[in-house]
């Protein structure tokens, strides 16, 4: 493990169209919010320098189109991801329902070596709306986190910059941990794979 090597943390942001992926990223990186963002086409990324536990890292946040048919090209840029942020809109049931699919799609397309331990973060965005427009309450969100393997959850407002830094701090820490675990080398991850294979052979389903 070389500490001189510049650490780039690659983070993929996924979720339905219009949940606020671009806005979250812009708010975190550029501290701004605009009503004028266009629907993302293809893929783009922003970077930000961070210091985590005295370590300088560059976080690279990848933003993608939310309409499902465009995901077949995801394989081109998911590769090498260190963390995946799943975003839904708290005023939109369907975007919540789709989170599981986004996670699965990501795991397959990104060629993740060890899906059991790969870091995911769940974000429920748009909490600035009036309570009566909210369709997903905190309890329901926690259920989803449990279902996804007790992943960290944040409720944010990209518009009013609520909880953005807190969420991305955890994103960055998890990504760094993931990045460092990969440096243990192939022997380590192979051992895990063998273990998983063993498990699967006892599974009767």
């Amino acid at each position: 493990m070389s500490s001189k090597k510049k650490t780039i943390l690659k983070v993929i942001i996924l979720g339905d169209s219009g949940v606020g992926k671009t806005s979250l990223m812009q708010q975190f990186v550029n501290r701004k919010f605009s009503q004028q963002y266009k629907a993302t086409i293809g893929a783009d990324f922003l970077t930000k320098e961070l210091v985590i536990d005295n370590k300088n890292v560059t976080i690279q946040l990848w933003d993608t189109a939310g309409q499902e048919r465009f995901q077949s090209l995801g394989v081109a840029f998911y590769r090498g991801a260190d963390c995946c942020v799943l975003v839904y809109d708290v005023t939109n049931n369907k975007s919540y329902d789709n989170v599981v699919s986004w996670k699965d799609e990501f795991l397959v397309q990104a060629n993740i070596k060890n899906p059991e331990t790969f870091p995911f973060i769940l974000i429920g965005n748009k909490i600035d709306v009036e309570e009566n427009k909210r369709q997903i309450n905190n309890k329901k969100a926690q259920q989803l986190c449990a279902q996804l393997g007790n992943i960290p959850y944040f409720e944010t407002s990209a518009k009013e910059a609520v909880n953005i830094d807190q969420a991305f701090d955890v994103v960055a820490r998890n990504a760094l941990q993931q990045e460092e675990s990969l440096d243990f080398g192939d022997d380590y991850t192979d051992a895990i794979n063998i273990h998983l294979d063993g498990e699967s052979s006892t599974c009767g389903c």
Partner: protein, 703 residues
């Protein structure tokens, strides 16, 4: 051999025979091996699966067999009398449609192999698939037989122009007014050719099904798993229960697949073989999505492999040929005259436009001249609302003023009908699909070009309006919504897809008349639909074609992109999807699009424009960038101006002229030598001005 004709000992019965078929063993005609393609039956009790398909070189046949084969090719299936669609003759010998022999004819039993004379054959039972390549103006039609053993046999070329049997078939087809292929692979536009009859006859003895993923591959007696191996990704609904995959051994398979980063032919074969293994089949059964992904990957891997195999970077032979014909650095390719022609001119103004038409509104000059003018200069904003509906073919060029008026009335009525249809149908508006699509449209309408004056937020719009996307106060955006919902209903299979709002907005900005904007959008979508089909095949094809074009025209830069793992040209996705709309200022896009719409040189001129963009930035990238993300960021963040557009259009035009000349030189050489085709058909299609139209076939569903 001098067997009696009546004796069938050591002989097989002919079920099909075609003369003048050839193996092209070398690039030279002298290397062609002439022969016959046959389907034969050994004995009366031979089953369909035991029937033999053979290529028999003419050189190893005795004269009697040659005579029999030539007779059979002419009359064996259709009878000796001429068929007439007007005179039914009860006594006439059996007529064509049965595709079974009229008379029994026998030849010496063909051998399935020979060490010297290139004979080969397979039984139908051991035939796995047939790759079919219909003829084009540049090459002869051919078929390749693939046996279940995996051996790849040489292509069999049909020299229809030399074949009396084919000519007779064709004249009979013409008399029946069916000049097109029955087994056509591209949707009805391929003329009848020699290979058609072979496939039709084969269908009598075997199940022949087009591979769902690759229509030019015909699967012979396929099992369900043969076909499912190639299931396109949109064919199967997503499974809701994918998580179970990841705790199990199936995961290993998926990661194995994804490790194939260097795509080679061998690896594709490995992948293909993996599909045959029982464990993979088991996954397919209990976990459909895995199969979708596997198929998706296999396809993209295969595409990659094909790409690598068909490298278009010219070898020294071609290079020296081009230098000989076109001068060093291809200097004579682009003449000062060409450069002069390609220089940008002032936009077409009202007075000049008006002078093109007579008092009845009919053009006085050729359409090509008008297009030439617009291609090189664009159109003055003042007359865009008039000119665009012509460019988009809402109005034919040759309608009189009067005809145009009645056309406008019809368009008005039709649009109103379509619009009222969904506006008044309460049941429809309550369906999930409608609500889903409407919501999708509204989300995007709210973020469509809000920086442009007519789409700006109004003072009365509060920030809370943003929470309910169906509240659209800006009347212009409201009209865009109505148009998109109406289009969503009109083209129900495709439905609304992200990016269409980007295509509609400039049309509305320029034309404003809701009806004409709608029909202009419908026409624009005809050519853009391939960008939005569910399986993304239209985008893939364009990226693949651009990749080939780059190899061919900018080989050094291509090699650099390969090093950066950027030769997939992924960074062009956005530019190709919405025709550079996000990269240029709004007003500039109006000009760029009207130039593309002329189809002056090519209906896919946008790919040459993309090539020009690569060309322009190649040095910067070669010298400074070495990673995929760097290259993507570089292109994503290009901020370009009107000047850039003019410069790129000139480059694109010169690149097109150079490309066309290079293709011509290579074609002449290859036609002369009868050699393999270097230029893929996708690349060659770039010279065409006919629109490339690809429609969505699957019905739209809730995504």
């Amino acid at each position: 051999m001098t067997d009696h004709v009546t004796s069938t000992a050591g002989k097989s019965q002919l079920l099909y025979a075609k003369s003048k078929v050839f193996l092209h063993l070398t690039k030279h005609k002298t290397g062609n091996v002439e022969g016959f393609l046959t389907i034969t039956k050994r004995t009366a009790s031979t089953s369909n699966k035991e029937l033999a398909i053979n290529f028999i070189p003419k050189s190893i046949l005795n004269s009697e067999d040659v005579k029999t084969l030539e007779w059979f090719d002419l009359y064996g299936l259709d009878g000796e009398k001429e068929y007439s669609p007007y005179h039914e003759d009860a006594n006439q010998t059996k007529q064509s449609s049965s595709n079974e022999p009229v008379k029994k004819a026998y030849i010496t039993r063909p051998s399935n192999s020979s060490s010297t004379a290139y004979a080969f054959g397979v039984t139908i039972g051991s035939l796995y698939s047939i790759a079919v390549r219909p003829p084009s103006i540049h090459w002869k039609g051919s078929i390749i037989l693939h046996s279940t053993l995996g051996e790849r046999l040489p292509p069999i070329f049909f020299h229809d122009d030399e074949c009396p049997g084919f000519k007779r078939e064709l004249s009979r087809k013409r008399k029946q007014f069916q000049p097109f292929s029955e087994n056509n692979l591209k949707g009805g536009e391929i003329p009848y050719w020699g290979g058609d009859r072979f496939i039709t006859v084969l269908r009598k003895y075997a199940a022949v099904e087009a591979n769902p993923a690759e229509k030019t591959i015909l699967m012979i007696n396929p099992t369900p798993s043969d076909l499912s191996t190639f299931i396109p990704q949109d064919a199967i609904e997503r499974s809701n229960d994918k998580t179970s995959l990841f705790g199990q051994g199936k995961w290993k398979l998926l990661t194995t697949m994804a490790k194939l980063t260097n795509f080679t032919k061998n690896k594709v074969n490995e992948v293909a073989q993996n599909f045959e293994q029982p464990e993979v089949k088991a996954i397919s059964e209990d976990f459909e999505s895995a199969r979708v992904y596997l198929a998706k990957w296999a396809l993209s891997i295969e595409e990659e492999a094909n790409r690598t195999r068909s490298k278009l970077i010219l070898n020294d032979d071609y290079k020296s040929l081009l230098i000989e014909k076109l001068g060093k650095d291809f200097s004579s390719l682009v003449t000062p005259q060409d450069i002069n022609n390609a220089s940008r001119k002032d936009p077409l103004k009202k007075a000049e436009w008006d002078s093109y038409f007579d008092t009845n509104g009919l053009p006085k000059i050729t359409i090509q001249e008008i297009k030439d003018r617009i291609f090189h200069g664009g159109v003055d904003p003042e007359i865009r609302p008039q000119v665009w509906p012509y460019l988009l073919q809402v109005y034919p060029w040759d309608v009189s003023t009067q005809e145009k008026h009645s056309l406008e009335i019809t368009l008005q009525e039709q649009y109103l009908d379509l619009k009222t249809c969904w506006q008044t149908d309460i049941n429809k508006r309550e369906t999930d699909l409608f609500k889903d699509q409407k919501f999708r449209i509204e989300k995007d309408i709210n973020r469509t070009d809000r920086d442009i004056s007519i789409f700006k937020r109004l003072p009365e719009e509060t920030s809370d309006d943003n929470e309910d996307v169906s509240v659209i106060k800006n009347p212009n955006l409201n009209t865009l919504r109505t148009i998109l919902i109406t289009y969503n209903e009109l083209n129900a299979n495709l439905g609304y897809v992200q990016g269409m709002n980007d295509l509609l907005s400039p049309l509305y900005y320029v034309i404003r008349d809701e009806t004409i904007v709608f029909w202009s959008f419908v026409k624009f979508m005809d050519r853009m639909e391939r960008n939005f089909v569910r399986d993304q095949s239209g985008m893939r094809l364009q990226m693949k074609t651009l990749n080939e074009l780059t190899q061919f025209m900018l080989p050094e830069f291509y090699l650099h992109l390969e090093k950066c793992e950027s030769n997939n040209l992924f960074f062009f996705f956005r530019m190709l999807l919405v025709w550079f709309k996000r990269e240029f200022p709004y007003e500039t896009i109006l000009k760029l699009w009207e130039i593309f719409w002329t189809d002056y040189y090519s209906s896919q001129f946008h790919l040459f424009f993309a090539l020009a963009l690569l060309d322009k930035h190649s040095n910067t990238i070669i010298n400074n960038l070495s990673r995929f993300d760097e290259v993507l960021k570089y292109f994503n963040d290009l901020s370009m101006t009107e000047n850039d557009v003019d410069d790129l259009l000139m480059r694109a035009e010169l690149l097109f002229l150079k490309f066309r000349s290079m293709v011509n030189v290579i074609d002449i050489k290859e036609r002369y030598e009868g050699s393999a085709q270097l230029i893929s058909s996708d690349l060659r299609d770039l010279i065409g001005t006919e629109l490339v139209i690809q429609k969505e076939n699957e019905p739209c569903s809730v995504e």
